[in-house]
Symmetry: none
Subunit: 229 residues, 2 copies
DNA sequence: TGCTAATGTGACAGAGTTGTGACAGCAACC
DNA sequence: GGTTGCTGTCACAACTCTGTCACATTAGCA
């Protein structure tokens, strides 16, 4: 699962900082904006997955921005969490009616923030339809998260699973180690290219004699998954 | 579809009367109660399909009753619509948090009432036909709210029950902790993901050696319920 | 054939995930 | 008020996976 991007909008830099630290620790990508105007532009440009929006800000207020975003087709799906000060509690309703998906009352703990953020993302991100793939009796089923060869289970670790899934959905094409690291490990990890070899090895071993020929070495380049010789 | 039964709870007889007339014209069966206490008893005795509940009542308040009903396993499914006076608007949130499915602000038109009532019923009724599920001698029976393994009772708490029920009606599919929180705990809770692990553990323990293999760990992902290896 | 670079392979320590028992807070029920 | 049962969280234990290395083997080429 790739990292979600969160846009923090607050005019106080110290609060943004505090939130940013908490979110980065929880493995989110963070963007910041200090006014509703710049925020709107950033939403359009960077398409964040979630908006953390301060209610009270100079100029266009947070709620105003929320309302505008929810009205616009292209941004209506973007989940929004409002930050409100304790004394403004009555405004919750206005906030929710403006289309906010949740609100958090200051002061809040970083943990609470991350928890609610997760909850919002959880219920707003739709699940993709995942279909099983099959090649020569080798079946990978994303729904049950299982791999089987001619009916009997194939035991592989998470990385080998992702690797196999990538291969089975991208057959007949050679990938360099570096491309595989990008696609299977995720873009921003630093690992030796030879590590790919080791996982290829593990995957081949798990597939056994009947299926390991599907994973082919392309000398000087990388690997390829193919049913043809 | 047979006529739905609606229980009206309000201390003012005139309001009950007005609502009852509207509902009967729209082909609902109507029950009435004038206090939270009698209402509770009637819910248990008559199992209405929906509860129309006044917020302000002498004695136990409506919200108190709502909260209690939603907490109790046997009545948690019962949809509740809260009636609130205009001036109490701030309480909407408390109401929704207590588990109400909708609220209507007095004064309201009979037509509006019926419309919202239909809407609530529409989205809450498809709580599938409640049939017992059985896997390898493990039986979960929603009607009696009981679990048994090869005939002998399995004692589990409410959360473990819901978890098992979800699993048994969604077999052969891997779920992340996050998805389980959504499905079993409900979308709006802020609970640590590892809490799922603990309940899985409790459930496994309760199932005992004969059946705990049904709940499988999917490393790096979450859990799966499956009769196959 | 012999040389060289690329790939295969087994082992291992550290990192990461999951299992487990204990505990405190809470609500329900005496 | 005390008791009981349930829940969520924590800290630590147990376990699995991962990335890297060193060395073995192979393919390609002169």
């Amino acid at each position: 699962m790739s990292a979600k991007t969160v846009l923090i909008v607050d005019d106080e830099a110290s609060i943004r900082e505090m939130i940013a630290v908490a979110l980065e620790m929880a493995d989110y990508r963070v963007l910041e904006a200090d006014s509703a105007q710049t925020a709107h532009a950033m939403v359009v440009d960077h398409q964040p997955d979630l908006l953390l929006l301060d209610w009270m800000m100079p100029g266009t207020s947070g709620i105003e921005l929320a309302r505008r975003l929810k009205r616009d087709e292209t941004t209506a799906e973007l989940p929004i969490i409002l930050l409100t000060a304790k004394s403004e509690e009555d405004n919750k309703i206005q906030g929710l009616e403006a289309g906010a998906d949740d609100y958090i009352t200051k002061p809040f703990s970083p943990r609470e923030l991350v928890a609610r953020l997760k909850a919002v993302l959880r219920r707003t991100t739709p699940r993709g339809v995942e279909e099983a793939v099959e090649v020569e009796g080798l079946v990978l089923d994303p729904a049950s998260h299982r791999v089987s060869a001619h009916g009997s289970a194939v035991e592989i670790g998470p990385t080998e699973y992702r690797l196999l899934q990538f291969f089975m959905t991208h057959q007949e094409r050679a990938y360099t180690r570096s491309q595989l690291l990008d696609q299977v490990w995720g873009g921003n990890v630093y690992v030796e290219e030879r590590t790919v070899d080791v996982h290829i090895r593990r995957l081949r071993k798990a597939l056994g004699d009947t299926h390991q020929h599907l994973i082919q070495t392309v000398r000087g380049t990388g690997y390829r998954f193919s049913a043809k010789g």
